[in-house]
């Protein structure tokens, strides 16, 4: 059953330097009991996307729709949104220390969450419920720990307390924004385990925002890969990992050190993500893409199905059959690139390679850096 339907969502922020186009035309569904993994680098718009759904981006220009159980979240007034937030949809943020109030006891903070949505709950009942929630997320001796302040909790325990708070009103959807990034590996394993278990018990839907493909491989059902405010690729988890179509997805997978490539050279993606104020022409990934050809510079590709199932979508001009990590797929990609690449696209590739240090001595290929060169010579 579809719980949340987001259609053509655009979010931009007017700033003194220009309009920051943080999210551009994103469409996705979240089903109840399912996990959608949203993966992308810093500045890909993944956090802005979910904060907009909760009305947490004041000052932004938002278009599109986000229908949650029949109501468009983007149309709600502040008061109505306050009812949805916490009760229907709740959030777990990255840094549990800054999202808990340092001067209030943990139990009070969880209790307040319950009482602010339902005034009929007495303080005593709320306190009892806090203890129960802390027990559910695996905090030892919850009866005494509810009296603690956030600084008395370790990082992992604080994140557990945040999860307890997010679960307090049994929401239908939880948005977890990098919930384990600040934690150690063994604690991260505990928290992911907890989220999975609670999801199975309570049937909550989850949107997991992360930059870590390892977390995605663990707990997502569907995956959306974001780049420069747009979905580059959207597919069930296995397709993303075993048959990636978009060169960005492929590049991400290849740049992770793994046991298979131990000791050898990694294959990084050259360059860095573009500024959201001054986006490149055509496909926004083209300055970093090894398969760029002339069409990529002129026209921005839209998401289209690249597999027969219809569930695997990719926004790339490469032919639909050129998906996957096999040698055959690589050959097909090379063929297309050879046939379609003109001088302009060849320059882009040369510039990217030069920046990677592949041919650092041939420093004459700085086509893309003309603006920066000007500043340099003035100085």
């Amino acid at each position: 059953m579809t719980l949340l339907e987001v259609r053509d969502l655009n979010v931009s922020f007017p700033t003194a330097d220009g309009v920051v186009r943080a999210v551009r035309g994103v469409t996705f569904d979240v089903d109840s009991g399912q996990t959608l993994g949203v993966v992308g680098e810093s500045g890909s718009g993944k956090t802005v996307l979910t904060q907009t759904l909760l009305g947490l981006t004041p000052g932004a220009e938002v278009t599109g729709t986000a229908v949650f159980e029949g109501t468009d979240l983007l149309e709600l007034s502040d008061d109505e949104m306050r009812q949805v937030r916490g009760e229907q949809i709740s959030v777990i943020f990255q840094d549990p220390l800054t999202s808990l109030h340092p001067l209030y006891r943990i139990g009070w903070q969880i209790g307040e969450m319950i009482r602010s949505h339902d005034k009929s709950v007495s303080k005593k009942e709320a306190a009892a419920r806090s203890v129960e929630l802390l027990r559910m997320v695996g905090i030892p001796k919850p009866e005494t720990r509810v009296q603690d302040y956030p600084h008395q909790f370790s990082g992992g325990m604080r994140q557990r307390a945040m999860i307890a708070m997010a679960l307090a009103l049994e929401p239908k959807l939880i948005i977890a924004d990098e919930p384990t990034t600040a934690l150690d590996a063994t604690v991260q394993a505990q928290i992911l385990d907890l989220l999975l278990r609670l999801q199975q018990e309570l049937g909550t839907a989850l949107i997991m925002i992360t930059h870590d493909l390892g977390v995605i491989a663990d707990i997502a059902d569907e995956v959306m890969v974001m780049y420069a405010g747009r979905a580059a690729e959207q597919a069930p988890k296995r397709d993303i990992f075993y048959a990636p179509h978009h060169p960005y997805t492929k590049g991400l997978l290849e740049s992770i050190p793994s046991s298979k490539a131990a000791g050898g050279r990694l294959k990084p993606i050259p360059g860095s993500p573009p500024s959201l104020i001054n986006l490149p022409s055509g496909c926004k990934f083209h300055p970093r893409c090894g398969y760029v050809f002339d069409k990529c510079l002129a026209e921005e590709p839209v998401l289209h199905p690249v597999a027969e199932s219809g569930w695997h979508l990719s926004a790339c001009w490469l032919p639909a059959t050129a998906a996957g990590l096999s040698a055959a797929a690589e050959e097909l990609r090379e063929q297309v690139v050879m046939a379609e690449r003109g001088q302009e696209a060849a320059d882009v590739v040369a510039a990217a390679l030069a920046e990677l240090g592949v041919s650092a001595t041939e420093a004459d290929t700085t086509e893309t850096e003309t603006t920066s060169d000007n500043e340099g010579s003035v100085a």
Binding site: E41, D184, A185, L213, I216, R238, R265, L266, L356, A363
Partner: protein, 384 residues
């Protein structure tokens, strides 16, 4: 084996202890305890090789790195760099040696002065050690910038004009300026996105091959450490629990903590993630102010027995057997696979199910009362 411990050892750390005092009281501060940040650690770093140091927050890996760099004095023990004991040197005697050891820090945003130009930042080592001035310095800076993949024309820019990955390249250029023998990399890529991370890791590898650098590489990402390291040492609460050549450690981990750490590391592969049996450790890392008696890992260890709470296991080559001859002197960072555990994990053993057999009093006992937990578990032993 003698050759491995002979001439090609660059750094030798011998029984280094670093305690930080914990102060309390209002007007008159007095010491009420010590944070046992590094507790009796020995290791070697070989010439031209990389020693990876892994461990969770608070395991003492950064403190150890700062002791090796001579940035903080050690409480006890020796750091011998290239034949010179640096722990005894005065500040002025230390200065020429500082050229040989450089650091790259985690956060490329806070480790560069935002108000100084990149050329000045990278040129600082030349100024401090009075190596080059004027046009000569500028030429050297631009050479360095080119070597690390920055546009040499950008030497007049401020750090804010660079992206995270480029800033880390600035940090690398600064560390490289004086052609050091050892570079200590303290989480050099953990603040970077994966696509950028791979760029920096490749750069570090190329520089090592070109200049014969040695690295002490600290990271919490086990796959990153595996990728760059020849030897890997695992730290837990100020001690080294296990050390081995990288492939050996990842393929045949012996210490239960290493096994748990490896099983907890996220794998970017759904099939591997689904097939693997994760060992979920109970509780958190105990406080280093009052570390548990015996083996420091025993309150969280799925294999803990009564002896673990009482006797601290020695770091030996083949645990479980009596150390003989040379193996007793094996040092982390060398070629031997050494483990500090009374009941090391054997290949094929399933730790994920071992937890059930352990008396709850051991695993759940708070770390504050190691003596008590030892008594508890002793009692449990008697009962059963």
């Amino acid at each position: 084996m003698a050759a491995e411990r002979g001439d090609d050892v660059l750094v030798r750390v011998e029984n280094v202890v670093k305690y930080f005092p914990v102060k309390a009281g209002g007007f008159i501060r007095h010491t009420v305890g010590h944070v046992h940040a590094v507790d009796d650690v020995s290791l070697v770093i070989e010439q031209g090789k990389t020693l990876g140091l892994v461990g969770e927050t608070g395991s003492g890996k950064s403190t150890l790195a700062r002791c090796v760099a001579g940035l903080i004095p050690v409480t006890k023990g020796k750091v011998i760099f290239n034949g010179t004991e640096i722990t005894k040197l005065s500040r002025s005697a230390m200065r020429p040696l500082r050229r040989e050891v450089q650091m790259i820090f985690q956060d490329p945003y806070s480790s560069l002065n935002p108000r100084r130009r990149v050329g000045a930042i990278i040129g600082d080592p030349f100024a401090i050690h009075k190596i080059a001035t004027g046009a000569e310095r500028k030429r050297k800076v631009q050479e360095l910038m080119e070597r690390v993949g920055l546009n040499p024309e950008h030497f007049n820019r401020f750090p804010a004009e660079f992206s995270g990955g480029q800033r880390q390249r600035i940090g690398v250029a600064r560390a490289l300026a004086l052609r050091p023998k050892l570079i200590i990399c303290d989480e050099p890529v953990s603040a970077l996105d994966v696509s950028i991370q791979a760029q920096i890791l490749n750069l570090l590898k190329d520089l090592q091959a070109e200049y014969g650098l040695s690295y002490l590489f600290i990271a919490h990402d086990l796959e990153v450490v595996r990728h760059v390291s020849n030897k890997v040492a695992v730290m837990y609460l100020g001690r080294v629990g296990e050390s081995a050549p990288a492939e050996d450690l990842y393929d045949k981990p012996r210490h239960p903590y290493t096994v748990a750490l490896l099983s907890a590391a996220p794998a970017a592969d759904p099939d591997t993630a689904a097939a693997r049996q994760r060992i979920i450790l109970v509780g958190d890392v105990p406080s280093p102010i009052d570390p548990p008696a015996g083996c420091r890992f025993h309150p969280r260890c799925p294999k803990a027995q009564e002896i673990c709470a009482r006797v601290e296991p020695a770091l030996v080559r083949d645990p479980g057997k009596e150390p003989e001859g040379e193996s007793a002197t094996d040092v982390p960072g060398g070629w031997a696979h050494v483990t500090a555990c009374h009941f090391p994990v054997v290949p094929g053993e399933n730790l994920a199910t071992a937890g059930a057999a352990v008396p709850a009093s051991i695993t759940a006992s708070p770390a504050k009362s190691p003596a008590k937990s030892a008594v508890n578990s002793a009692a449990k032993e008697e009962l059963s």
